[in-house]
Symmetry: C2
Subunit: 190 residues, 2 copies
């Protein structure tokens, strides 16, 4: 399991409230891990009980007060231990692939529309990722600092993960084109 570890990484990158974490899970972290605020509050409470995170009440003006969480020593140790622990490469989970094979027993025209919708969603996400890349990682690849500069590791790793998201979306678009071409081969007339 990794939601707690994803939260630890996010809090190490920057402390924040449950609400803020939920928003990050819609953005950067959300490129590769999703979580709703309900899950986050539940897990944060457990992590607090286990001493993995520290809480600090932050009064705010014009907004509700918030609880700012940051990683405690125990949490850092837990993350470190998880990072040492090998994980199994996970397999994909694609509802859409189930539908594609199922379309052999049903109306393929409906599937064509569904695939087109998904293709558009992936195009949108790709555009969104690319915009984020231009915004957050402009300039030359090898940063301005000296080679081996440790301060850039965090950014470089964030960038390579984002490139993974981009590669994934691009692959999906290409594959969905393949699916549409396949459907067209026995589709248009029937």
């Amino acid at each position: 399991m990794a939601l707690e570890h994803a939260i630890l990484v996010s809090l190490l990158e920057k402390p924040g409230s449950g609400y803020e974490l939920a928003r990050r899970f819609e953005r950067s972290i959300g490129y590769f891990w999703t979580a709703t605020h309900q899950q986050i509050y539940r897990v944060l409470k457990r992590m607090e009980n286990d001493g993995w995170v520290d809480v600090r009440d932050v009064p705010q003006q014009g907004r509700p007060d918030k609880k700012e969480y940051s990683v405690a020593d125990l949490g850092r140790a837990a993350l470190s231990s998880w990072l040492q622990d090998p994980i199994e490469p996970e397999s994909v989970r694609h509802d859409l692939a189930v539908k594609i094979r199922g379309a052999a027993f049903d109306d393929p025209a409906v599937l064509t529309r569904e695939v087109e919708r998904h293709r558009q969603a992936h195009r949108d996400r790709l555009a969104h990722y690319r915009a984020g890349e231009t915004r957050d990682f402009p300039g030359p690849e090898a940063s301005t600092a000296a080679p081996g500069a440790p301060l850039d590791a965090e950014r470089e790793l964030q960038h390579v993960v984002l490139r993974g998201g981009i590669a994934y979306e691009q692959m999906m678009i290409d594959w969905l084109d393949d699916v549409l071409a396949t459907l067209a081969r026995f589709g248009p007339s029937r």
Copy 2:
């Protein structure tokens, strides 16, 4: 939710027992959906209660008897209705990406080994998929039958899903190379 629908598709392709389904989920269907026998038995029982599948006791010699499941009219209707129903494009879930961003706060050398392990696993899976493709889908792309031949839809759709698996594995290998190159940039000396 789609396990029950994945099972319906698999049983339409070929009726079989819970055990056989579990084995298929390690192979062809498993390219895009995983399930253990415990899940399968649980869901099969529910589907039987709901009248989605018919059961037939098949006595065997030299082996335990088995229950052969096949899709009933109600099941076929349920699948059809699900196929009509649009689903949301789902986002990826990558433990490994969490680890990559986490490596900024820990030993990157450990991550390098982990990434290499995953890369190897994806290479193995890719080889396995390609072997399956050569075995199950030889010959020219556009089959021997006349254009629009409906009998080939099932195979064509299975093939395009397999090509999706291949594209996914290839994308992952390329991306993990990118990750390794990124790690090497601030890795070897520290």
